[in-house]
């Protein structure tokens, strides 16, 4: 089932989709190389989930072409389905069945024989730290456990391409770290991952390439470093008690942005300890009295502000789907 390296795992051209008169996808083009993690980053309502729904054959597109694992999603959906694993935003587990029964349901539907199915289910249960809860109904699981079970179910049948729709939304920081490690391990095993997320940090941590989706259009695409170079860097915000402190600091630190009313100064910085120490040393040597200090690292809002000219989350939310 090897795909030749020259052929991308996912190719999308001119994808469009509307629900009624609401345009959700307005011409998307993207390409995901085999064996990489691709992150589709955007706020609620940008069209991330709709993109996943189309690529996983759940719904049809209005226009455009999409090929997954070399197969046309509209023309040969079953070939696409045989190559993919999906973990949705709404966890797709059967709440009345136990964790083990959920996995056996998947091994049966992937037509593994009984012994192989039992072996694979046990393997996934222990890999995802669910062995103890294997005989409890999935409805009683915690959020993190359900996500892990959901992901484990998507892995039955060893899919070559895995779609993860906001895999960590709503998870606590620890479960999120666990999920990230699981995703890294998967890619180490050679699969391709198509990930959607609202968190820049998550895309930065995991993805080889990131595409920024806003109002159904891709507004930027590149490696995390390429994108971050386009974002105004982070800054250190200095708070002063008196105007003359601000005055002398502004005089010493040339490229800072000053706010005379708030008595603050924003100094561009990458947020590293080294640059912070350099800044403080410099202020010290000039004997500038600083009242307070905060470090601001770039986040999704900065990205959107820069690339779209408006904040990320002020638009109407995508209807629950």
């Amino acid at each position: 089932m090897a795909i030749t390296p020259s052929r991308p795992a996912i190719e999308v051209a001119g994808l469009r989709k509307s629900f009624g008169d609401q345009v959700v996808l307005d011409g998307i083009d993207l390409e995901v190389a085999e064996g990489t993690i691709f992150a589709l980053l955007g706020p609620n309502g940008a069209g991330k989930t709709t993109t996943v729904h189309i690529l996983t054959t759940l719904i049809g597109a209005d226009a455009g072409e999409a090929r997954v694992a070399g197969h046309d999603v509209a023309g040969d959906p079953d070939a696409v389905r045989a190559a993919i694993g999906v973990t949705g935003q709404l966890t797709a587990v059967d709440n009345l069945l136990t964790g083990e029964e959920n996995l056996r349901l998947m091994t049966d539907l992937r037509h593994l024989d009984r012994a192989e199915g039992r072996r694979r289910a046990a393997e996934l249960l222990s890999q995802f730290d669910l062995a103890e809860a294997a005989r409890k109904p999935a409805g009683t699981y915690s959020g993190g456990m359900r996500r892990r079970l959901d992901l484990a179910m998507g892995l039955v049948g060893d899919p070559r391409i895995i779609f993860l729709d906001e895999p960590t939304t709503g998870l606590d920081p620890r479960s999120r770290r666990t999920m990230w490690q699981i995703i890294r391990d998967l890619v180490a095993g050679g699969v391709t991952i198509f990930l959607t997320t609202q968190y820049l940090e998550e895309a930065d941590e995991l993805a080889d390439r990131i595409a920024l989706l806003d109002h159904g259009r891709l507004v930027a695409e590149g490696t995390p470093d390429e994108l971050k170079r386009r974002i105004p860097g982070g800054h250190i915000r200095l708070q002063f008690a008196y105007p003359d402190g601000l005055e002398s600091a502004a005089h010493n630190l040339g490229d800072a942005v000053r706010d005379d009313e708030a008595l603050t100064l924003q100094v561009p910085s990458d947020g590293s300890v080294k640059s912070l120490r350099a800044l403080l040393d410099r202020l010290d040597s000039e004997s500038v009295e600083v009242d307070g200090l905060s470090i601001h690292t770039p986040d999704l809002d900065d990205v959107f502000l820069t690339l779209t000219g408006q904040p990320a989350n002020d638009e109407e939310k995508e209807p629950a789907r």
Binding site: G60, A79, R81, L96, D108, L109, H111
Partner: protein, 263 residues
């Protein structure tokens, strides 16, 4: 594996899922079995004396009415089971796992065939229990093994037909409440047919409806098989109804299921 063996294997897998659901959500199964029994006892012990006298048979009374009403109650159990399917299908469609099934390379209608087969198991069980209770309170039949087998076969076919129709209702309904209301008339059809009183006793318009609706030929055939009354061409008409309702129900369900789930 061929497409056909995939279809069988995936449907069997979904049937296992359905049976587990029924075992874990047993209150629904018990309600569906209990309802026809309550009606059986109600009609035999409360109305049976009077209605039985109206049948004009040689013995009259409660015992004769029990014989008369038994096929109608069986059909009521079939209808109740089918309505249960509509609710179960509707509730299932709101679960995230259905989206997962849609993105897997499986026999696509298997989610639905699983529901239908599970519902068949449930309804057949319910029919056995209803028959046992009827016998306990004095129902006797001269039917031999062939007649009993034919009765079971016809009831199974009719259950299959109504269940597919109700799967479509469950898929069409926007919520569980609507899914339960939409097929509700099915429970009343045995009343508006030959189930509880002879159609001759009804006013003309109603009698016309009663004689031409699908439950009447099925009830009359079951009555003929179990009690030796004349079947005539009712058997053929009953089978024709079964095939027709199954086809409509299946094609309608398949069409509804193949729509984009998000529109």
């Amino acid at each position: 594996m061929s497409t056909l063996s995939y279809a069988v294997a995936d449907s069997a897998t979904m049937l296992r899922r359905q049976v587990r659901h029924m075992l874990r959500y047993a209150s629904m199964t018990l309600t569906l079995i209990g309802m026809p029994i309550v009606f059986l006892l109600l009609f035999v012990y409360v109305f049976g004396g009077t209605l039985g006298a109206g049948l004009g048979g040689p013995d009259g009374g409660r015992a004769e009415y029990l014989e008369f009403v038994m096929p109608g109650v069986l059909l009521m159990a079939v209808a109740a089971g089918a309505i249960g399917t509509a609710i179960a299908v509707n509730m299932d469609m709101t679960e995230g796992i259905i989206a997962r099934f849609r993105t897997m390379a499986i026999f696509r209608p298997s989610v639905l065939t699983g529901h239908v087969l599970g519902s068949m198991v449930q309804t057949m069980l319910s029919l056995v229990v209803v028959t046992a209770v009827a016998m306990l309170i004095g129902f006797r039949s001269d039917a031999g093994p062939v007649e009993w087998a034919a009765t079971a076969g016809l009831l199974a076919m009719f259950t299959f037909a109504l269940t597919w129709l109700c799967v479509a209702c469950g898929l069409m309904a926007k919520n569980a409440e609507a899914a339960s209301n939409l097929p509700q008339p099915l429970v009343f059809l045995p009343f508006l047919g030959s189930g509880f009183v002879p159609t001759d006793s009804m006013p003309t318009g109603l009698r016309w409806f009663a004689e031409y609706q699908p439950f009447t030929p099925v009830i009359d055939t079951v009555r003929g098989l179990l009690l030796g009354t004349a079947i005539g061409n009712n058997g053929v008409i009953a089978l024709a109804w079964c095939v027709a309702i199954t086809l409509v129900g299946y094609l309608w369900s398949r069409r509804l299921y193949n729509r984009d789930p998000i529109r």
